[in-house]
């Protein structure tokens, strides 16, 4: 079985499991948390392509998440356009901005790239707060319309569950397609060595920019989904701490693995709610768990599993060769 077929099969199984959850559990609270997980999966999957495959770190995707949310929400509120259409427009505009930002930014490396992307997110955040005539400022935007199909609206947590998980799994599906293709190999080549990659005929700046745009588009889509699901947005949701949190999900999940996107989001998103029990010790314990995972599971949650699988496969192949 080819790696792509294997991943698709696993994704199908996962999808079946995810979509059967509401058959047994329909409490809006838990569904709400799961919906946030799904939105994060979408952002984290895009970031995994960028960070894990192309080796370019970004601590600024909260900015793209914000653009998806605000552009779509503003158009839907003020012009009364259909949220599906405004979501598309938001993605298109975010993609363009990602292109403009990406070209100069992706020339940077390491700490400099980290700072530039952080700076971008900080600028977006401050503008969201200061341009309050347009954005509603810190008190946010209320009364954002829901998605609808005909007269049927995605108004409840359950209905949105189908919606957001559909897009999260679709995002993963597309991402798997990408990594098991010419582009995916090109990205990995760039991660290992940009010079070596370019000598294989890979236009490195172009590939980097393209995958940057793809990840920005996924963040933008997630942002729009957030806005029309929550019906309220405010700048706090889109600050640099969000950007740091999603990159943390990439790493905790396993940097080089798209499955890590799923596991990382599913682990870190509900963690603060679970730790609520510890009250004043919450941050202390959260920090400790976070460090612990990074220290002792260097490949992340998914990486650990994949490594185990790879090792078994390698061993069996070694045996075959020895025979």
């Amino acid at each position: 079985m080819s790696p792509l077929a294997r991943d698709r099969l696993l994704l199908l199984t996962m999808g079946a499991m995810i979509f059967s959850i509401p058959l047994v559990m329909r409490n809006p609270y838990y569904l709400n948390v799961l919906n946030i997980v799904a939105l994060n999966v979408l952002v984290v999957a895009g970031l995994t392509l960028l960070i894990g495959y192309a080796g370019q770190i970004s601590l600024g995707h909260g900015g793209f998440y914000a653009m998806g949310a605000y552009i779509s929400a503003l158009l839907a509120i003020h012009l009364g356009w259909n949220p599906w259409i405004t979501t598309g427009i938001a993605m298109a505009l975010t993609g363009m901005i990602a292109l403009i930002i990406g070209i100069p930014t992706l020339r940077l490396r390491g700490h400099y790239l980290v700072m530039a992307t952080l700076g971008f997110n900080l600028i977006v955040y401050i503008l969201l707060i200061q341009l309050d005539d347009i954005t509603g400022g810190p008190s946010g935007l209320s009364r954002i319309p829901y998605y609808t199909i005909g007269t049927w609206g995605f108004t409840t947590d359950l209905r949105c569950y189908w919606l957001v998980w559909f897009f999260a799994l679709l995002g993963l599906f597309l991402a798997f397609n990408l990594v098991h293709s010419r582009m995916g190999r090109a990205l990995m080549a760039i991660r290992e060595s940009e010079v070596a990659a370019s000598c294989l005929g890979i236009e490195t700046w172009r590939c980097k920019t393209e995958v940057f745009i793809v990840s920005a588009l996924m963040a933008s889509l997630a942002g729009s989904l957030y806005a029309h699901y929550m019906s309220f947005i405010s700048p706090k949701t889109f600050d640099i701490f969000y950007s740091i949190e999603v990159v943390a999900m990439v790493i905790v999940g396993g940097i080089g693995s798209l499955w890590g996107a799923l596991l990382g989001s599913a682990f870190l998103t509900p963690l603060p709610y679970l730790l609520h029990f510890f009250e004043e010790y919450k941050d202390l314990i959260y920090g400790a768990i976070f460090m612990g995972v990074l220290i002792f599971l260097p490949q992340g949650l998914a990486g650990g599993l994949v490594k185990l699988y790879q090792k078994r496969r390698l061993m069996s192949q070694l045996k075959k060769v020895q025979e």
Binding site: L178, R182, G256
Partner: protein, 252 residues
């Protein structure tokens, strides 16, 4: 016909002169060796040909066209491939996928078709895999196609990166110390492989310290010393050149 020619290449790094006016040309099917002491400018020269560095002055011609300062990916697309001294294998993915990565120039699917995995992508994937398997067969590594690359011994990794460079069907292949770090027996295998490549009619530029390998395989040899060209000729001519003996080979 001249396939590749460099004319009067000069390269300075922050005032340090690495190359001081190097010229040579290469015929189709020819194997050119480049030797010289460390720091003579051998790698700098092929870095300029492959477009990683821009020369301070001088020109590079490929099939009669001036290609000076073209970016590396453009050179690769035109058919100039290379390997690296530090092999730059992609350790985490399989041997097969490593070689398939070299197929990049021969495929064209954009990011959108890759995301959607359109039929055209599937077709290209199959073609790339077939090509990669053929090349691994040539290298005698077909059995290890699905190994992660890091699990291969160094000598075999060196072959994988040569296969990767060949996957794009290059006209010119530049090898930077293919036998570096190999022991004598492995070096011999590498020599056999180079002979096989010669048999396929691929034009080669070979940087190597292993003199016997260079002498065996190459049609002509270029000798660099402190950025100067001190000799260019057949292996016999070069071997007997007093300047070369003095600067590089050492008294016998």
């Amino acid at each position: 016909m001249e396939l590749l020619a460099v004319k009067e290449i000069v390269k300075h790094f922050n005032g340090v002169k690495a190359l001081k006016g190097i010229s040579f040309s290469l015929k189709e099917g020819e194997i050119l060796g480049i030797i010289g002491p460390n720091g003579a400018g051998k790698t700098t020269l092929i870095n300029i040909i492959s477009g990683i560095y821009k020369p301070t002055s001088g020109e590079v011609f490929y099939r009669g066209e001036r290609v000076t300062g073209y970016p590396p990916h453009a050179m690769a697309k035109m058919g100039i491939a290379r390997t690296f001294q530090h092999i730059q294998i992609f350790p985490e993915i399989t041997v097969l996928e490593n070689v398939m990565a070299g197929y990049h120039t021969r495929s064209s699917s954009g990011i959108v078709s890759c995301l959607l995995h359109l039929p055209s992508v599937m077709k290209e994937e199959r073609a790339a895999a077939a090509k990669a398997v053929d090349l691994l067969d040539l290298m005698g590594l077909k059995a290890k196609a699905n190994w992660p690359a890091f699990a291969l011994p160094y000598g075999e990794q060196k072959k994988v990166v040569i296969a990767r460079a060949l996957a794009g069907d290059p006209k010119v292949l530049m090898l930077d110390e293919p036998a570096g770090g190999l022991n004598e027996a492995e070096t011999e295998e590498m020599g056999d492989l180079l002979e096989r490549l010669r048999g396929l009619g691929i034009t080669l530029i070979l940087i190597e310290h292993d003199i016997s390998l260079v002498m065996d395989v190459c049609h002509r040899i270029l000798v660099l010393h402190h950025g100067y060209k001190i000799a260019l000729g057949t292996p016999q001519q070069v071997q007997q050149d007093p300047q070369v003996i003095d600067a590089y080979l050492g008294g016998a």
